[in-house]
């Protein structure tokens, strides 16, 4: 039976809300299939505002891949702002997809992409507006399977109660596989209802179904073990790794929004994974090994994507784009190809070396020179050894000076505060570094018209990283260090005015810490916050630390654990961590060794260029490093 469009009921509400265009769909390259044409129907959600969610590549890729399957359709849904939420509640309009404005509850799968934990409360809003019971155990055969993916799904335990299933790692192949399992089950007449479907998914070993696992606790509140509660359910669930990105050249038809979004460009992932081994970086740990897309595929994707979209900017995306084995060729090839066409190129730079400036020069050839960004992350040399960000002070100053002398006027430096073993002097070292940068820059250019901005936020220890055992720094200490750093920068007569300072205060990091390393007991906190009106926690104007702390106190009052226990407590080696049964490929002993090395200021190399140091990733997952160079060049295209 076809499902009716909700648009005629939504439309009268739209004149009353901010930026109504974000709710109407109709983007270029969006797909609307007949309801009855498909047997497996996915609603894909990015649990944040449309303007943040639309550019996300993960959702765009899955949307395109699923819609290419003959019997499958996918539509998209995003978090609605509180103004529309209130109207939808009063008028009884449920959570809808933006493509055909169908009710989310009518779909078979609600796939939610969590790049960060800050979308958890928005998940609850969407479920509630959709009319889907918040807790998985209350759902019936009329409800979709609520499936989480994305980086935060590597520890889905805090939202396990609200999920039917979660997937770790790359989504391309597993989404297709899940679609096939659902299709078969529906074709057989849905034997055994949703439990059987979940069982079929769980037994593959590639889909985590939280309710098939019981968590047992020690009397002191620590986890004793996590075990399957029925036979046929594997005791460990593994992540997915797509090999050979050239075979998966998505998105082919990028979505072009009408509404303004955070990234107005065509992005191409130039590789996945990163083995620089920065110890704070969850993304780098869970996406191993490095898999490059070849220069020729990148060139073809850029060409097709620009034609399909009409975007005037290309973003070369990855975790550390300057590390592509042929990035120089790619940059030059693209800059040559689009010379004179008003096409801008951008790459998020993090690497601190002169090569990066050559690249930046190449990239800005056809466009504007805005500013350069480097991420030394740690202020002192010692701190950078702890986090394994191998940059010396000389490197940094030399690089930035080169940038200034080549005409860049503005340089941004990213740092973190509250790193393991950090002391006040490590943070104050940032001020010295910034001053040295300006001093050297002035000497090199003979000009006072150069600036640098120090940007700093609180560090949050993440699952599946060597810092998963670390104590998170309390927010009082973080805020005090941030204030002292500010005073040290501002108070400087000679350089203070050339240095900008941006910081995120420490309190939100504590909430992120709770959600990152939380276990199933944290679900009641999330629910309490949401019931108390918590929404859009990634937005400072909506986020309330007090609301989180009050809710946590209430929700955890009957437990042996509290917010400090989850955040500022250091874990010992053999404590069972909530995500230990979820396998990102990393060898636990290697992680622990790396944690010990961190505390002892010992660095590790990048396994792309030095021998393998057995992190566990490749053998566990049956994967290998895939990098160039291919030696190929980009052919110039004839442009009008």
């Amino acid at each position: 039976m076809p499902v009716e469009s909700l648009f005629s009921r939504l439309e009268p509400l739209l004149p009353k809300v901010q930026k109504p265009i974000q709710y109407v769909g109709g983007e270029l390259n969006s797909t609307v299939k007949d309801w009855d044409e498909a047997t497996v129907r996915w609603a894909l959600m990015y649990p944040d505002a449309y303007e943040v969610g639309l550019p996300n590549q993960g959702v765009q890729i899955l949307y395109e891949i699923l819609n290419e399957l003959p019997e499958t359709m996918a539509e998209r849904t995003y978090a609605v702002w509180p103004d529309l939420e209130a109207l939808m509640r009063s008028e009884g309009v449920p959570q809808f997809t933006v493509d055909a404005h169908r009710p989310v509850r009518a779909f078979d799968v609600l796939g939610v992409s969590f790049s960060t934990e800050l979308g958890y409360t928005n998940l609850l809003t969407a479920l509630d507006l959709a009319g889907i019971p918040l807790e998985a155990v209350d759902r019936t055969d009329e409800d979709p399977i609520v499936l989480a993916g994305g980086h935060a799904a590597f520890n889905p335990e805090p939202i396990a109660a609200f999920l039917d299933a979660a997937v770790l790692g790359d989504g391309e192949q597993i989404a297709i596989a899940i679609s096939e399992v659902v299709r078969e089950w529906k074709a057989e007449g849905r034997p055994g209802g949703r439990d059987e479907l979940l069982m079929r998914l769980a037994s593959t070993g590639g889909v985590y179904v939280p309710k098939f696992y019981d968590v047992e606790y020690h009397p002191d509140g620590r986890i004793k073990r996590v075990v399957p509660n029925r036979s046929g359910v594997p005791s460990r669930v593994f992540k997915h790794t797509v090999m050979d990105l050239d075979e998966w050249p998505y998105p082919k038809k990028p979505l072009v929004p009408l509404a303004e979004t955070v990234h107005e460009r065509f992005s191409v992932e130039i590789f996945r994974g990163c083995t620089r081994g920065c110890r704070f970086c969850q993304a780098g740990m869970i996406t191993r090994p490095v898999r490059e897309r070849s220069i020729t595929t990148i060139g073809d994707m850029v060409d097709a994507g620009l034609k399909e979209s009409g975007f005037s900017e290309v973003g070369l995306l990855s975790l550390s784009s300057a590390d592509h084995s042929e990035i120089g060729e790619i940059a030059k090839g693209l800059a040559d190809r689009y010379e004179g066409t008003q096409t801008g190129l951008s790459l998020p730079s993090t690497r601190v070396d002169a090569f990066n400036i050559d690249l930046a020069n190449e990239f800005s050839r056809n466009g504007r020179r805005s500013g350069l960004t480097f991420a030394p992350e740690g202020g002192s040399e010692r701190m950078r050894k702890v986090i394994n960000k191998m940059v010396t002070e000389e490197d940094l100053i030399r690089t930035v000076t080169t940038a200034y002398s080549q005409g860049w006027r503005q340089v941004k430096l990213y740092f973190m505060c509250g790193l393991p073993t950090e002391e006040d002097i490590d943070v104050l070292a940032i001020a010295d570094l910034a001053k040295k940068v300006i001093k050297a820059g002035r000497e090199a250019t003979g000009s006072r018209d150069i600036r640098c901005t120090v940007s700093i936020g609180g560090f949050v220890p993440k699952p599946h990283t060597p810092f998963q055992w670390a104590a998170q720094c309390d927010h009082e200490t973080v805020d005090r260090r941030l204030r002292e750093l500010r005073d040290a920068l501002r108070g400087d007569k000679e350089y203070g005015r050339a240095i900008g300072y941006r910081y995120h205060d420490g309190k939100p990091s504590i909430v992120e810490g709770l959600l990152s390393r939380g276990d199933r007991r944290v679900a009641s906190v999330i629910r309490a916050v949401w019931e108390d009106g918590g929404r859009f926690d990634g937005w400072s104007e909506h986020f309330s630390y007090e609301r989180w702390m009050t809710a946590a106190e209430r929700a955890l009052s009957g437990e042996l654990v509290d917010v400090e226990w989850y955040t500022t407590r250091e874990r010992e080696e053999h404590e069972v961590l909530p995500w230990d049964h979820l396998d990102a490929g990393l060898d636990r002993e290697w992680l622990w060794q790396d944690w010990q090395d961190a505390v002892n200021d010992v660095e590790v190399e990048d396994c792309r260029w030095t021998p393998c140091y057995d992190c566990g990733g490749c053998p566990t997952m049956g994967t290998e490093i895939q990098i160039g160079p291919t030696g190929k060049k980009l052919l110039p295209l004839t442009v009008v």
């Binding site: 009921r9 009353k16 109504p20 109407v24 270029l28 009409g310």
Partner: protein
């Protein structure tokens, strides 16, 4: 720049929720997709030479929006019309393109015809309110602008208002119900008098308040023809050979 193309386009259906900025991004992308050789401004950050005249507000549909594209190679207007329309999302529809041969487009857009559908409103009360509005010399209304609350006259700019009743097609309403429709010709003045300002005027002079928010469409724009009291086609000069 060797040629200027004047474009009349519509903003229809759900695309009426686009803002002016949304439209300019969509047009710039469509121009690139259609490979129209748009000219760029010189300077540090070159901009495509596309200019917009008096865009209808967000939420208001239109059958008569105008823009002008400067191109760096001579183009066949009919070809551009087809290519641009195919490259724009459905709902932003190109209606007409001419090569500019006469004075400024913006200067020609002297007035607009607006249609306001008022589902659930009382036709008799509407007639009465319009009579009282037209009888008044000035009707002071206020609106929140970027500079705060502003008071201005909504009467002088209004050339005519006609009331009719037709079957309803408005979103969210029972189809086929009789619906009050106001059709008004309003001169473009500073400060601009918008359809909702006129509605507020009707409320102030006669207490007329429709039960739900109106659905507004701009039907036409052009130079005000003094004899008919209606806008003429702003492309008239181009079509008759021009005054170049």
């Amino acid at each position: 720049m060797v040629q200027r193309l004047r474009v009349r386009y519509a903003k229809r259906g759900r695309l009426r929720f686009t803002s002016h900025r949304d439209i300019s991004r969509a047009v710039e992308r469509a121009v690139r997709r259609a490979e129209i050789p748009v000219a760029f401004s010189a300077g540090f950050s070159p901009h495509p030479k596309i200019s917009y005249a008096g865009a209808a507000p967000t939420g208001v549909a239109s059958e008569a929006e105008y823009l002008e594209i400067g191109v760096s190679r001579p183009c066949d207007p009919d070809q551009v019309r087809a290519d641009l329309d195919a490259s724009l999302p459905p709902g932003l529809d190109v209606l007409d393109i001419v090569e500019a041969r006469s004075g400024s487009l913006a200067d020609k857009l002297e007035c607009s015809v607006w249609e306001l559908r008022l589902p659930g409103a009382d036709p008799v009360a509407a007639e009465q309110a319009v009579k009282e509005f037209e009888a008044a010399d000035r009707v002071e209304v206020e609106r929140l602008t970027k500079k705060g609350m502003r008071q201005f006259d909504a009467r002088q700019a209004v050339r005519s208002v006609a009331v009719s009743v037709r079957a309803d097609t408005t979103a969210g309403q029972e189809p086929g119900q009789p619906c009050v429709i106001l059709r008004m010709v309003v001169r473009h003045e500073t400060p601009a008098v918008r359809p909702d300002d006129v509605l507020m005027g009707l409320r102030l002079v006669a207490g007329f308040a429709p039960p739900s928010s109106p659905e507004v469409t701009r039907l036409a724009q052009g130079p005000l023809d003094a004899t008919t009291g209606e806008p003429a086609d702003p492309f008239d000069a181009e079509r008759s050979g021009g005054d170049l």
